[in-house]
Each structure stands twice: as structure tokens, then as C-alpha cells.
């Protein structure tokens, strides 16, 4: 069954009452789980202020460092605590692997620590759109550069982003551009540039096989220098100097062949030609919509949301921010029907747990321990179907392209079990990494709830904060029943809570509350509604 959206709303600004529900919806879609500091920060802001904060408050992260040195492995080139991003030596595969994991866990940490900006979510969007695979490249400083490139443009100019990606060593390696030469042209990047990155495979995406071949000819010569750490290198003698003739889809454009260094500039003509096509804006806006709003686009949405946003995209010469801003402010984005209509990806799920519960790494955790904790998160999410920096293939994660299942792809009997085991373990034990246990302070989380002493109010608050969809009265009663151990009198919870608050060091009073809270949390986190945002 496919529920048809009966929405006629479009990109006109949302004009309804701005409530906490609206705020949670906005924050869930723009970050990986809503943190307490976000709640505190945004609760006094209007919608417009909130959106502008999300779009303009990015802070550059610090550099990834050698946090991986251990008894088994010591980096001879990079001292512990210093950045490795300028290190190009890849003789020791164990070391390269450690840096890749270090880079991934560094990104995971950036997502965890993100405060008020949409930056990391947008970076994930572009990472899923313009795909590379770090294990495939196995040259982590290039992966780092690639992600910094994506970050720099994540709300910037899409055309500029594509231009830089086209000449980016990581991409030149990943889609074989580095080997593309006049004798044996490699069409890989030329194809994906059109099919996956810019034009798509929509009904109006009518570029031809010949367009792919001609684009590959344009791109010959853009390569890297393997001897110089994989830096970009234009090999003019590899460049195909002949004219390139494109199809009617591109208005029969001819790119005149150039020789010497001038051949390098043909790429700009190629991108001008591609970006002249209306399909680019529609394609990117649809993908953004699926990422930020909902998996399916019906005719009304295409007409009222996608096309007007595409028009804004074109009018602003492919600046990304005005499009995202308009969407986040729109009546359509804030339609109640769009709330909870997405299934969490593993980042939303695990990092969301971490952020919303305010999990802190143990104080005694060393730099190396922190690396271990983050890599443990990496593998945990990998068991749920997402390993950052390594989507399964060049098309990205199936949840964002696989029609008609889309985000349902995240949920299998295997991953849903792993999700439940992860939250159960967090509640009853903690999050396990090699040498330290990271625990969640549920009572602290509870004490931050306005209605903590009233079991009904508390349950309502937790439902609103943690679940993407309201629960039935039966489920609500059951949750209150857990807090009350089946008693009818809500005062028993109130009493138990205050006894604990007044005697925080009394084990018995703490355990009395904790036993019930753990069961409640386990129940809450296993509800199907917890998987929605």
C-alpha cells in the first residue's frame, strides 16, 4: 500500500503556529538526533531564525590526528596526537587501514559534536550523492581532501562542487579518470557525471551513449601524479584534441578540440553545457527532497515543490543554500503528514541515541580509547547497513535511490534485530568498545525532562522527544504502567522520583527508580515508532 499524499502545499513559507513538534521535525531532519543543547538553543528561536542558524553556523572541525597508535601498531611517520593528513606513504597496509578508520571515526565524532548547523547532514547528503569508497582508494589523505571538498561546498555552489570533484584525485582514482587517455578512453566518470551526479535517469534525462563517449574524450588528460602522493596532474599528451559532438539533448553542442594546456579548459565547456540543461536542477532538488522530506514524489509535489525549487536553483546559478532554505521554511516541509515519514538511517539511529540521551565518553577514556569507541560505533552501524565513506556502490546507499522501497531498505530482520540489541545493550549495560564501556545516564536524561515527576507527563514528553510518530492510548498506558509497576496511583512514581532526587547517593532509592526506567526505555526504544523521524 502506498499512502498518497493529499498535499497541495508548496514552497510558500509556513505560516502556521510554530510549535515544539515543528521544531523537533526540523532538527531531526537537519541533524543526527536532537541533542539537549539543540533543544535549549532552538527553543527560543522562530522558524526563520532556526533555519538561518542551521544554514549559517557551521564551524570547521579540527584535523584528524593519529589517535590509533597502540601496542600492536605504531606510526613511524606521524607522532601520536599529530595530524596525518599530509602523509602520503602507503607502504604499510595496517597503517593505511588505521588512518582510514581514524578518518571515519573523526567524521562520526564531528556528527556527534555538531551543535547548531546542518553541515554534517549536508555532508552526508553529498557523500551519498557523489560517491567514492575509501577502502577502494586506500589512500586516506585523498579521502580526507575529498570530504573537505564536499564540506566546503555542501551549502555552496553545486556547479563549482562538480567542477572540483571532476578534478579531485580521489574521484579521478575512484572512477578511473586518472587513466583516461586519448588511446584508450575510460568512460566511467563521464557516464556517472551525467547519470548519477548531474542529469539522473529521470524520464527527461535523454543523454545518449555517444554523449558519454564524447564527454570521456573531453576529460582525457585529467589525471594524478602517483609519484607525488596522488596530486592532481594534467597530462596534456593524453588529451584528445579532436572536436567533441554532443546530441540534441545538449543542443548538438560541439566542444572544439584544443591542444596543450588549453585542452584542460574543455572541462569547463563540458560543465557549462551540462548545467545549461534544465534536468540538472530538477534532479538535484528531487534528491534533496527525498533526503530531507519524504521518499516518494507525487504529481502535486513535483508541481508545487520540486519545480518551483528547481527554478530557484537555476535562478541562483546553482547556489544550494537558497534551495535548502526555501524548502526548510516551506509550508510543505512542515505539513504534519511529513512528520515521521522517514525511516532512520543507522547514523540517525545510533548517533541519535547518543546525542538525544547525552551520552558522554567515560572521563578516563584516553585519546586511543576514544578512537576505539568511535570505531566501535562505526562497526555497529556497519552491522546496520551503513559504513560511512564506503557506500555499497557508486549509486550510494539504496535507501536513497532504490525505487520503490527507498528508506525501507534500512530495515531487515537482521538490521532491526541489531538495532534492538544495540539499544538494549546501551540501556542495560552500555556501549562496548575494546577497552572501555560507555554508559548512558538515564536518570540524568530523565531529570532534564520538564514533567519528570508526573508519569503521564513524562511518558508524553519522552514519546514526543524520541518517537517519530505518536503512540496509541494502549501503548501510552502500558508505558505509564511500567513506571508505576502496574499501580494506579501516579503519586507512587512521583514519590519514588523525589526520594531519589533528595537522596542521590542512596543506592536503593536510585535502583528503585532505575529498574523501572530501564524497562521503560527498553520498551520505548523497541517500538517501531522509534525507527521513524
Amino acid at each position: 500500500m502506498m499512502a498518497e499524499g493529499r498535499l497541495s502545499s508548496g514552497i510558500e513559507p509556513f505560516s502556521g503556529t510554530w510549535t515544539q513538534q515543528h521544531m523537533l521535525h526540523l532538527l531531526r531532519r537537519c541533524s543526527f538526533g536532537v541533542s539537549k543543547s539543540q533543544l535549549d538553543y532552538f527553543s527560543s528561536l522562530s522558524l526563520e531564525e532556526s533555519v538561518d542558524t542551521l544554514l549559517n553556523s557551521a564551524v570547521a572541525p579540527s584535523l584528524p590526528v593519529n589517535d590509533y597508535n597502540s601496542a600492536d601498531l605504531s606510526d613511524p611517520d606521524v607522532p601520536f596526537g599529530e595530524t596525518w593528513i599530509n602523509e602520503t606513504n602507503r607502504d604499510n597496509p595496517d597503517l593505511v587501514s588505521a588512518r582510514i578508520v581514524s578518518l571515519k571515526s573523526w567524521w562520526i565524532n564531528n556528527m556527534l559534536q555538531e551543535t547548531t548547523s546542518i553541515q554534517e547532514k549536508m555532508l552526508f547528503f553529498w557523500h551519498n550523492h557523489i560517491v567514492t569508497q575509501s577502502w577502494d582508494i586506500f589512500w586516506p589523505h585523498l579521502t580526507y581532501q575529498h570530504f573537505e571538498l564536499l564540506r566546503k561546498h555542501s551549502l555552496g555552489n553545486f556547479k563549482e562542487l562538480i567542477r572540483e570533484v571532476t578534478l579531485d584525485p580521489q574521484m579521478l582514482l575512484y572512477l578511473n579518470g586518472a587513466l583516461n587517455n586519448r588511446e584508450v578512453p575510460d568512460e566511467n566518470y563521464a557516464r556517472e557525471l551525467q547519470e548519477l551526479f548531474c542529469i539522473g535517469k529521470g524520464p527527461d534525462a535523454n543523454f545518449t551513449e555517444s554523449d558519454v563517449q564524447e564527454a570521456a574524450r573531453v576529460l582525457t588528460g585529467h589525471s594524478i601524479d602517483w609519484e607525488a602522493g596522488g596530486t592532481y596532474l594534467y597530462r596534456g599528451y593524453w588529451h584528445d584534441e579532436g572536436d567533441k559532438q554532443f546530441s540534441s539533448f545538449y543542443n548538438n553542442t560541439v566542444i572544439t578540440g584544443k591542444s596543450g594546456d588549453a585542452g584542460k579548459d574543455e572541462v569547463d565547456e563540458l560543465l557549462e553545457m551540462i548545467f545549461d540543461n534544465n534536468e540538472v536542477a530538477s534532479f538535484i532538488v528531487r534528491k534533496l527532497y527525498r533526503f530531507l522530506v519524504y521518499s516518494h514524489i507525487d504529481d502535486a509535489t513535483e508541481m508545487n515543490v520540486i519545480q518551483p525549487l528547481a527554478e530557484i536553483f537555476r535562478a541562483n546559478d546553482y547556489e544550494i543554500m537558497p534551495v535548502v532554505r526555501t524548502l526548510l521554511l516551506s509550508a510543505h516541509f512542515h505539513e504534519e503528514a511529513n512528520r515521521g515519514a522517514q525511516i532512520k538511517n543507522p547514523l540517525d539511529f545510533l548517533l541519535g541515541f547518543w546525542r538525544t540521551f547525552g551520552v558522554k565518553m567515560p572521563e578516563e577514556a584516553t585519546v586511543r580509547n576514544r578512537y576505539e569507541i568511535r570505531s566501535s560505533m562505526l562497526w555497529t552501524m556497519s552491522n546496520m547497513g551503513l559504513e560511512v565513506m564506503d557506500p555499497p556502490n557508486v549509486a550510494g546507499y539504496p535507501a536513497y535511490y532504490q525505487f520503490p522501497s527507498f528508506d525501507k531498505n534500512w530495515i531487515t530482520t537482521d538490521t532491526v534485530t541489531n538495532r534492538a540489541l544495540t539499544t538494549d545493550s546501551f540501556i542495560y549495560w552500555g556501549f562496548w568498545s575494546q577497552n572501555v564501556l560507555t554508559t548512558v545516564d538515564l536518570l540524568q536524561h530523565l531529570s532534564e525532562r520538564e514533567n519528570v515527576s508526573d508519569p503521564y507527563g513524562l511518558v508524553d514528553e519522552l514519546v514526543m522527544l524520541h518517537l517519530g510518530h505518536p503512540v496509541s492510548e494502549t501503548i501510552r498506558e502500558r508505558m505509564v504502567g511500567i513506571l508505576l509497576s502496574g499501580q494506579q496511583n501516579p503519586g507512587y512514581w512521583t514519590g519514588a522520583w523525589y526520594e531519589y532526587v533528595d537522596n542521590p547517593t542512596d543506592d536503593m532509592k536510585r535502583m528503585t527508580v532505575e529498574i523501572r526506567v530501564k524497562v521503560l526505555m527498553q520498551f520505548l526504544l523497541q517500538l517501531s515508532e522509534y525507527h521513524l523521524i
Binding site: S376, Q434, T474, Q487, Q522
Partner: protein, 525 residues
């Protein structure tokens, strides 16, 4: 001799293994025939059903001590039951039952109900929550335990749980609780050792393959999908559905919540589920007010609850009989406390201390155990009934004489020297091959010898290639000693840990890596 009896007999006299040997045991063991034979043999396994009376049941109005009646009349005028309304028990002069308990009266007269008087624990705690936790964990009044008594018991019976569970030997949940959540009673040292059947509605949705309704919205459609996959991932859903499907005829039950729960329990037992522990509950015993109707003390909330209890249990025992499983099912009631001797001004009673416990079943030695409580002549508002029987003695009796646990398993579940009560008639315990198989079900990553231990424990473990650590952990979950940590190859390794410096008692040796946690209990003498 019918097939079931034959197998029962066969198991007992080792005839079955001999017979199987003749056909090639190894091949046969995997065959469906073997499994069906074994399943029938295991039908002899005993089951315990606990009924939790939530809120604290007023014992004095449940089992009335007739030699104290006059004093009760004075002490609790706003709730006292008229003498003429009370139900007499066959052969009993000193006690009568609440008029609603006709079900229990019938069971008693039939010799299938045991009443244990004045059950509680020293230093009564009057908080619902705390006292419930004490009853569920079998802790001392001033002791906090993170594991339940049944969780600890199941850990001794199925020491490898949850690694590679369910499995061919133990395909079914170890325990089932119908209610809000898995009670801390079933919390084991590593994991919750039972499964929750949310409520009867949930059960019938599962059995009849009906799904919870979702709204016809975008979010509703996603929700429906997540629910579907979640249902498919529930490993025990299928075995419950299958067990339920094997039973089509049941006796009639009253239309009450408790009866609905017990009806499900009977169906699952009769359907061949090998689960041995069930917990159901009935809430509302916290009768501070309106325990009785002002004008008619035989009516009111308490009367309704006791009627629901007695009638449901009576229907349940009839059904068990009809399903031919009554000789292997025993039931018991538990409640966090009794209520105050004197009544209050709201036709109710406040939180109290000791109270009677009920045990029922074919194998119960019917009767009344213990003396009548003694009511003071002019009771103060805070006067309570003294405890005579520690509730843990009842638990210990059930484990020892009903589940036939050995001494070390008993010590692991309920440490200390607990008196046993003569409440079970057939105390002839047979050690069955089932118990042996249960102990080996699942994969064992760690074992500890000797058990009980005095000086030095020898810990045998299997490496996983991953970082792991093995700790000696106290009952309350505190790591006392690290036995070993590091990366170990996937073969057997041995480590030792001195324990001579530890006080006598129960400990756990806990194995943990990224994926596996397993705890084995060990008793230090």
C-alpha cells in the same frame, strides 16, 4: 500403556537411548521422529505459574483468622467482613475465606490448594516499588540486587544463554510473562531470560496473524513496514504461534483479564512449549480506599479482585485437567506486602507487612501452613503482622522440590540456608536427561571449576580472535577481579583466579567481547 507413558517410562529406565542406539543415534538425533519422541518425553517437564497480586493484598480479609475475629472487628471496623459471610474450609476451624473466594474454597476442599500464613521478610519495606523489587529479586530488605531469583535460577539451568539461543535443544522461551514488561524476577546476570507477551490482545494478534492498525498516512505506511519486519525478526513468535495452534479446545474461563492470561498459559503448556516459568498479574490490590462498600463489606474493590483471582484459578485448574497437563503445573501467588491491621477512614487499609501466600495444583499438599497471626488487643496505627515464613523459603521449596534443583543451583538462585516447607506432595525428584541437555544447549564460551570453589577457580574459555575480558563479578554486578583480558585465538584457553580472599557466597564469572556476553555462576564456600 499409551505412548506418552511409555516414553516417560522409557526415559526413566534408559530404555530409550538403547532403542535409539539400535538405529544409529547420530543420524536419528537429527530426524523429526527423534525430535517428536523427545518432545513427548519432555512433556513431563514441570511448570510454575506465578500470579502477581499487584498493590499489596489485604491478607486479613483474604484468609480470616477466626480465633482473632473479635480483635479484628475492633481493629478494622471499616473493612471487617461479617462473620456469617465467610466461607468455611473443609476440616478447618480456625480460618475462613473471603466470601468471593469460592474458587479457592473449592480447590482447598479438593486438596489442591495450600495456604501459607504470615509470609514476608524481616525489616519490611513499605514502598510498593522497593518491596516488589525485594520479592522479585529475593533480596534482603537492605540489599539491592540487579538480578531476579528466577533469572539466577534459569542461569544455572541454561548456563550458556543467550549465546546461540534459541537452538534445537531449547527452541522455546525460557520464561514467559504476560504483562507490562519483563519483571526483574527474570533478569539474569547477562540478559533478561524471559519473553514478554504484551497482553492477551497482543497474543491473539500474533496467533491469528492480525496486525496492529496503522493510520493511512505516509508515516503510517512506514510504520507498518517496520512492524512487519520486526515481527518477522522475533524468533520466539513462531514457536508461540505453533504451540497455540496445537490446542483447539479449552475449558471455559470467566471474562476477566486474569482468566484471559491464564487461559493463554494453559494453551501454551498444552501446545508443547517447553517454557517452564510463567508470570501473570492482576493489579489493583492497593486498596487505601473503597476496599469495601460502606454499606456492604462483602462487596467492593477487594471482593471483585478476589473473585477474579479465585474464579480464574479454578477455571485454569479445570482446564489443565481437561488438557491432561494438571500433574505437571503448579501455581503460586505473590504480592509485595499485606496490609495494615487497623482499617482507615476511607473503607480501606494502608500498606502492611506479612500476608498469606497461595500455592495450587495437583501436586500441592493441600492444607494450611503456619499459625494464625496474633492481633494485638489495642493495635496502634503502625502495628503490623509479624513475618513467620520468609518468602524465600517458599521460593526455595519450589525450586528444590518442584524443579528438583541440586544444592549448588539452589545456592546460586537463593543463597543462604532457607527452610523448606512441606507444601508439595510428590517430592520424588527424578533427575532427567533433559536437565543435562539444557545445561549444554547453546555455545559455551566460558566454564569455571570447581564449583563450589574454595581457593582457586580455574576458568576455561574459548577465544574469539577479538578483544575480550573475563571478570569475576559480585551478585550486585560489581567487578571484583579481572581474570584475564586480551585477544585470544579461537581455541580453549585456561586462566585461574584466586578466590580464597572472598567472602562465601554467589559470584559470576563473566565473559565479554564485542558480540558475546556470557556469565557462569560460581559458589564460593
Amino acid at each position: 500403556m499409551n505412548r506418552r507413558k511409555f516414553l516417560k517410562h522409557a526415559t526413566r529406565t534408559s530404555l530409550l537411548p538403547a532403542m535409539l542406539h539400535g538405529t544409529g543415534l547420530a543420524a536419528f538425533a537429527k530426524s523429526p521422529l527423534y525430535r517428536s519422541l523427545y518432545q513427548s518425553a519432555e512433556d513431563t517437564d514441570r511448570v510454575l505459574v506465578l500470579i502477581y497480586l499487584g498493590g499489596g493484598n489485604d491478607g486479613l480479609n483474604t484468609v480470616v483468622p477466626m480465633d482473632q475475629y473479635a480483635k479484628l472487628n475492633a481493629a478494622r471496623p471499616t473493612v471487617i467482613l461479617p462473620e456469617s459471610s465467610l466461607l468455611s474450609l473443609s476440616g478447618v476451624n480456625n480460618n475462613k475465606l473471603h466470601p468471593s473466594l469460592t474458587g479457592f474454597r473449592n480447590l482447598y476442599d479438593d486438596g489442591r490448594l495450600g495456604i501459607i500464613q504470615n509470609v514476608g521478610y524481616p525489616d519490611q519495606n513499605y514502598s510498593h516499588f522497593r518491596s516488589t523489587d525485594i520479592w522479585m529479586t529475593a533480596a534482603d530488605s537492605d540489599e539491592v540486587l540487579p538480578t531476579g531469583w528466577l533469572g539466577r535460577y534459569l542461569n544455572t539451568e541454561y548456563p550458556n544463554f543467550p549465546v546461540d539461543y534459541p537452538n534445537e535443544d531449547v527452541p522455546d522461551p525460557l520464561a514467559i510473562e504476560i504483562g507490562y514488561n519483563l519483571s526483574v524476577a527474570f533478569q539474569g546476570p547477562v540478559a533478561g531470560m524471559g519473553m514478554v507477551v504484551g497482553d492477551p490482545e497482543w497474543f491473539y494478534q500474533l496467533v491469528n496473524d492480525v496486525d496492529e492498525e496503522t493510520p493511512d498516512t505516509k508515516a503510517g505506511e512506514k510504520l507498518e513496514y517496520v512492524r512487519l519486519i520486526t515481527k518477522q525478526s522475533q524468533v520466539y513468535g513462531e514457536v508461540i504461534r505453533e504451540a497455540a495452534a496445537r490446542v483447539s479446545q479449552q475449558a471455559s474461563y470467566p471474562q476477566t483479564e486474569l482468566a484471559e492470561q491464564l487461559k493463554i498459559v494453559a494453551r501454551l503448556i498444552a501446545g508443547g512449549l517447553k517454557t517452564r516459568l510463567y508470570m501473570v498479574s492482576i493489579h489493583g490490590f492497593d486498596t487505601h480506599d473503597s476496599q469495601v462498600l460502606q454499606g456492604d463489606h462483602t462487596q467492593g474493590e477487594h471482593a471483585n479482585l478476589l473473585r477474579e483471582l479465585g474464579d480464574a484459578v479454578e477455571a485454569f485448574t479445570k482446564d489443565l485437567k481437561q488438557l491432561s497437563i494438571s500433574d505437571r503445573v503448579m501455581g503460586a501467588t505473590i504480592s509485595e506486602f499485606g496490609r495494615r491491621i487497623i482499617s482507615n477512614g476511607s473503607n480501606g487499609t494502608d500498606h502492611g507487612a506479612a500476608a498469606p501466600m497461595f500455592v495450587f495444583g495437583e501436586q500441592v499438599a493441600g492444607g494450611i501452613y503456619g499459625n494464625n497471626p496474633v492481633i494485638p488487643v489495642n493495635p496502634e496505627v503502625n502495628d503490623n503482622l509479624a513475618m513467620e515464613v520468609d518468602f524465600r523459603s517458599v521460593y526455595a521449596t519450589l525450586l528444590k522440590n518442584w524443579f528438583c534443583t541440586d544444592e549448588s543451583a539452589l545456592q546460586s538462585s537463593l543463597p543462604g540456608n532457607l527452610d523448606l516447607l512441606p507444601i508439595i506432595s510428590s517430592s520424588a525428584c527424578l533427575s532427567t536427561s533433559i536437565q543435562d541437555r539444557n545445561k549444554h544447549a547453546g555455545s559455551s564460551y566460558v566454564d569455571v571449576y570447581p564449583n563450589p570453589v574454595v581457593d582457586m577457580a580455574r576458568v576455561e574459555f574459548t577465544g574469539s580472535g577479538e578483544y575480550l575480558r573475563i571478570d569475576l563479578v559480585s551478585q550486585s554486578g560489581v567487578i571484583l577481579k579481572n581474570v584475564i583480558q586480551g585477544r585470544f585465538s579461537r581455541e580453549k584457553h585456561v586462566a585461574t583466579v584466586p578466590v580464597h580472599d572472598l567472602p562465601a557466597g554467589l559470584y559470576y564469572v563473566r565473559y565479554k567481547d564485542r558480540h558475546i556476553t556470557q556469565s557462569k555462576s560460581i559458589v564460593k564456600y
